[in-house]
Amino acid sequence: MIDSKKIIAIIDAAAKKIESEKDFLTQLDNEIGDGDHGINLARGFKSVEEKLATFADKDIGAILKSVGTALVSTVGGASGPLYGTAFMKAGNVCKGKFTLTDEEFAEAFNAAVEGVKMRGKSAEGEKTMLDALCPAYRAFKGGVDGGKTLIPALEDSVNAAMQGVEYTKTIIATKGRAAYLQERSLGHQDPGATSSLYILQAALDVLKKG
């Protein structure tokens, strides 16, 4: 079970992680994109950080929605609408709730991933953040369905995301900027998949600390 305080802590940790990995994410985007992914996300999560204080009494739905709106209106580029939509869709599912069961967390996770697919008109296997998010969601859901508790299920999820990031190195991009590089996108890891992994890792770190 996760309460709104944990959610806030996770968002805080994700923001810090993105800030600290900003240069690396930008470097990855330099190789197969336009070299701004870290800069864009860091700008967005900084504006989220500035809102954290206003989250204290809000329900999880409102918090996630607010994070989504902040990202949409500050990140820009491709990842802004994508992450923004993900958080907003997750927020929709959590409307009015101050705690989430593991099943509800899975449901919110699913809504986020579906939001990315809808917004990006994209699917797994196109060398995007979905190659981290989809397997991560499946692993989490499978774990919870199979009776695992939150932390072990999220550990599986992070591992799956990690493998997903590795997988992006082996495929040619068909969505996003990297698609323009065609064969030249091979061998490079997708920046968006990498930032998705970082957000999941931040969640796991917070939950593990208890």
């Binding site: 330099n30 197969i32 070299g35 949409v72 820009g76 802004g80 609408p81 068909t174 323009y180």
Partner: protein, 330 residues
């Protein structure tokens, strides 16, 4: 990184302010951010045009705001699409009862952010539609991919649909003309040196002294192939051959646009134009008009793109119509 700037974080804002101050009678900046609109709002009986994208393409798009072209240009951070809320503010500021047409370059980010803004505008009962420009033949078009990028051909969409809107045509009509331009415009570009996003501090790619990138976009990203540097004529031929293979220009009248990427001396653009003109004529293409200069740039990238637009009588008339913007006067 060696640039004439004040601070990395201030680049976009100061740039927009500098643009607006260069033409205070023509342009106005909205308080909400990097949104430039015509100082003299268009009559309610005419469709308004909104475009935009990341900064770094100057004079695009703010430089093309003015009579006969755009009503509003929304700029994001360098090479980063503006966000939906800002685009929405722009749409609201220029919306007329005839409606608003958004001209969007085909990049995932631009497309998604404009899509969200259009939804927001439609929710508030603004009549709004959009077209997506995808003129870059360097990228194969396919149902399963992002498709071709929108590059310098976008300027011709601004010009021609802007002229149509000035005529008082309906939103559907302006959209039809914009889509006709899109269907008939093709571009391709190359770079001999990269550019540096200020916030990144280092170039998007590095090239040896004898290397060039062919098939670049307009965001400092590498191209589809890296090649050894060859002569200007041979380079232009590579781009032209790809463009001419994409749609049939033979026997048609065209507008030729030789676009500098930002740091290319005009001397080189003219040398390229010298070849392009002869090659097109030799290939049975008739040249109606030529534009040579910096229209859709990638900050200080050195290189160029070639754009051809196939004309019919309607497009010719609209292309020739007056325009009065900081970057294009006709």
């Amino acid at each position: 990184m060696k640039k004439l700037i004040n601070a990395v974080e201030k680049v976009e804002d100061e740039m927009i302010l500098g643009l607006v101050k260069s033409a205070p009678k023509k342009l106005r900046k909205l308080d909400c951010g990097k949104v430039v609109v015509r100082a003299d709002k268009k009559g309610n009986d005419k469709v308004a045009l909104v475009s935009g994208g990341g900064s770094g393409h100057e004079p695009a798009h703010g430089g093309f705001v003015g009579k006969g072209m755009l009503d509003c240009a929304v700029a994001g951070a360098v090479f980063t699409s503006p966000t939906p809320d800002k685009i929405f503010e722009g749409i609201k500021a220029v919306a007329t009862s005839q409606g608003v047409l958004c001209i969007v370059k085909n990049y995932t980010g631009d497309v998604m952010n404009f899509e969200m803004a259009v939804d927001m505008a439609a929710d508030e009962d603004i009549k709004v539609d959009s077209v997506i420009v995808n003129d870059d033949v360097a990228v194969k078009d396919s149902l399963y991919t992002t498709g071709r990028r929108g590059v310098a051909g976008t300027i011709l969409v601004h010009k021609i649909s802007g002229a149509k809107a000035e005529e008082g045509a309906s939103l559907d009509e302006v959209k039809r003309v914009a889509e006709k331009v899109i269907a008939n415009v093709r571009s391709m570009g190359m770079a001999i040196s990269p550019c540096t996003v200020p916030a990144a501090g280092k170039p998007g790619f590095t090239l040896a002294d004898d290397e060039v990138e062919i098939g670049i976009g307009i965001h400092g990203e590498p191209g589809t192939t890296r090649a050894k540097i060859i002569s200007a004529d041979e380079t232009a031929k590579i781009l032209l051959d790809k463009i001419l293979a994409d749609i049939d220009f033979k026997g048609s009248e065209v507008v030729v646009l030789i676009n500098g990427m930002g740091a290319t001396p005009l001397m080189e653009l003219y040398i390229i134009n010298n070849f392009v003109q002869d090659y097109l004529v030799a290939n049975g293409v008739k040249i109606y008009d030529t534009m040579v200069g910096n229209f859709m740039t990638s900050i200080e990238m050195a290189g160029f793109s070639i754009t051809l637009l196939r004309l019919d009588d309607e497009l010719k008339k609209l292309y020739d119509a007056p325009a009065d913007t900081p970057a294009l006067v006709k």
